[in-house]
């Protein structure tokens, strides 16, 4: 894993010292809020409904053991003993005091972490496939390139005041687990005809008010051209992007209004300049970075104990069925730790749970942890012989819920329980849906199903790309929930379609239940998933169960 060099260390420390001075000047009155606000946002500090919120980047979702322990320490010392994992692979602390934030940032710097560019109109935390470096289907580990992008974009002098925020996601595998088509730039690793790895470059994707699936601007970009090409894209956007209207300022609108062809031509023109300017130093740096991401020394050991445990313990077996993913190394598995216990807040981990996860990574996981955009924690490298022990430890920490990919593995943004921009709450809806389907004992029967919930049109909860999306709105002073159907967050990304009128907070869980029971009745076979059934039949039969004719509803 990447370790800060002297330059990184000095840079981050200098930023903390600078921000400490800014906080002092805000508190003593020499800075007004108008002056201070952009400064605090540059350092990831928001003011929310009940308190400040500090958003800390977890670059490409990768954490080491010391970092996870430090997050737990920070949660205990300056917050309320927990943290919230977000869909952009950040962690949010919901309760810091302004005066404590510089100390929190120093504590983060102690373990090579920061909150720089987690807000503001800059290039944000680069997100990546959470199975990077472990997945069986991967072409290459995308994290060295993600780290290169992080170094390039951090404090990039030309890109500190973009028209709007800018998000980059990267996957090293053809199966997209990083939602690259919903990002300003999405990078999907592919091979050219000769077998050399490079990137399919996607531009202009995004959710929010005007959701759009990103378009391919380059079918194949050689790896070595990545930085100059990205620089060309962001440069064209910086010049062309609209600064007159906040709602039209994202690159998706720039590409849409100018047309992909024109945009591509302009990028190519810039690219001829940037490519010449990049003298190859980026490739030297990349080569150094790659050393940091060498695969761990995988062990070989018998897996008989694991096989025996599968037979002996049905709960363990059920957990392995849902929560494990194929690893590239023989005898290994990728462990997905569900942070979605039924009835708990999606993505919230207590400091004790963080320490348990750190201990497990240290003892059984080659020291690595990942945070997924689906708000779960991953132990990417666990040998199968260690799985029974890992499972027992997770169980003891209330972390062994066997529900990854199922209906209760819900993405939910903080919504109006925390977020100042929210129009309705998300968390209680997620909690109720999970509890309802757990009580019905239906979720394994239902099988793979992605529910994603956002508390406002900004769509941090990715509702547009949920198989079932839920958007919380304020309708005449009452919380109201709108359902979208048929969204897809993978390489075949689709924006879901609105089902119809919204539901009140009391009606939304029964509505979801109708929808899911409707699916069970509609599916052709037990193996046909919700999204497959939806694709086969279209939205109509689902709308019919969602909005039954009045007599049927009265009789029910």
């Amino acid at each position: 894993m990447y370790v800060y060099n002297d330059f990184d260390e000095a840079f981050v420390r200098a930023r903390v010292a600078q921000f400490r001075g800014q906080v002092e000047r805000r508190i003593d009155g020499s800075l007004t809020e108008d002056e201070f606000r952009p400064l605090r946002l540059m350092n990831g500090l928001y003011l929310q409904l009940h308190a400040y919120m500090l958003r800390v980047a977890i670059p490409y979702g990768t954490l080491n053991v010391a970092q996870m322990r430090q997050l737990a320490m920070i949660a205990d010392r300056w917050d309320k003993g927990y943290g919230h994992w977000t869909t952009r692979q950040n962690i949010q602390f919901n309760w810091p005091r302004l005066a404590d934030v510089p100390d929190m940032l120093d504590a983060l710097a102690d373990v090579g972490m920061h909150a720089i560019q987690t807000s503001g109109n800059t290039i944000r935390n680069v997100t990546a496939d959470h199975f990077a470096g472990a997945a069986a289907d991967e072409i290459e580990d995308p994290r060295p390139v993600a780290e290169l992008l992080r170094q390039w974009s951090t404090d990039h002098p030309e890109f500190q005041f973009l028209p709007r925020k800018f998000k980059i996601a990267i996957t090293g595998s053809p199966n997209d687990r990083a939602v690259t088509r919903a990002h300003d730039i999405g990078l999907r690793m592919v091979r050219d005809a000769a077998g050399a790895p490079g990137f399919e470059v996607i531009v202009g994707g995004g959710l929010g008010r005007t959701p759009m699936v990103g378009r391919v601007i380059r079918d194949f970009l050689p790896k070595a051209d990545l930085l100059p090409y990205c620089e060309a894209i962001v440069r064209v956007y910086n010049i062309l992007g609209r600064r007159d209207n906040k709602y039209k300022a994202r690159i998706k609108i720039t590409v849409f209004e100018n047309g992909l062809e024109t945009f591509r031509d302009l990028v190519d023109e810039q690219f001829s300049t940037t490519r010449a300017q990049f003298s190859g130093v980026d490739q030297e740096i990349l080569a150094q970075i790659e050393h940091h991401f060498a695969s761990p020394a995988f062990k070989t050991a018998p897996t008989d104990g694991y096989e025996a445990a599968l037979l002996a313990n049905p709960a363990f077996r059920s957990w392995t069925d849902t929560n494990l993913v194929a690893h590239k190394a023989p005898g290994y598995a990728i462990v997905q730790v569900s942070i979605k216990k039924h009835g708990a807040t999606p993505g919230d981990a207590t400091s004790d749970q963080m320490r348990v996860l750190a201990d497990l990574a240290e003892r059984y996981g080659h020291g690595e942890l990942r945070i997924s955009h689906e708000q779960n924690v991953i132990l990417p490298h666990v040998h199968k012989s260690d799985l029974p022990a890992v499972y027992q430890a997770l169980r003891a920490a209330a972390l062994a819920t066997a529900n990854i990919g199922l209906i209760s593995d819900i993405i939910a943004c903080p919504g109006m329980d925390y977020c100042a921009l929210a129009t309705a709450r998300s968390i209680p809806i997620a909690q109720e849906i999970a509890l309802r389907f757990d009580a019905l004992k239906l979720e394994h029967e239902v099988g793979p199903l992605k529910i994603k919930i956002s508390g406002c049109i900004n769509a941090c909860g990715h509702h547009h790309v949920g198989h079932i999306g839920i958007l919380g709105l304020d309708r005449a002073g009452v919380e109201n929930y709108q359902i979208t159907l048929g969204g897809d967050h993978t390489e075949t990304a689709v924006i879901g379609e609105r089902a119809g009128p919204g539901f009140s907070a009391d009606e939304i869980v029964p509505a979801i239940e109708r929808l899911v029971r409707g699916y069970l009745a509609l599916r052709a076979t037990r193996d046909e998933t919700f999204i497959e059934t939806f694709r086969r039949l279209g939205a109509e039969p689902f709308k019919a169960v969602l909005y039954p004719p009045q007599e049927a509803a009265d009789a029910a």
Binding site: I27, E33, H50, K80, P96, R97, T345, D417, G477
Partner: protein, 98 residues
């Protein structure tokens, strides 16, 4: 002309960041029931200016709709109700602190 609905002046505290309300005797309280209920539009505008001038005590002062309740002003919109109470997923914030 639309009728003026009663308001309270509210903001977030500079250091803690939590919700606070302006009282009639010029304090910032964490208990909304102690807030001054402003029934007159001109009064409300002046009280808001007074609040906004306290730049080193509070952030983002604004007028929020409220109504008279048994023990003092009460919110009329759910957002203000949540600000008064705290999040619904944990017993944190004002619901346990005030």
């Amino acid at each position: 002309m639309t009728r003026f609905t009663p308001k309270v002046v509210t903001a977030n505290a500079l250091i803690e960041g939590d919700a606070v309300w302006l009282t009639a005797d010029d304090r910032w309280t964490r208990d909304m029931r102690e807030a001054e209920l402003l029934e007159d539009e001109a009064d409300a505008a002046i009280r808001l200016l007074h609040a906004q001038a306290q730049r080193n005590v509070v952030v983002g002062a604004y007028l929020a709709d409220a109504k008279a309740g048994r023990d003092g002003p009460e919110p009329t919109h759910f957002r203000e109700a949540f600000r008064m109470r705290g999040p619904s997923n944990y017993a944190h914030g004002k619901q346990v602190e005030v």
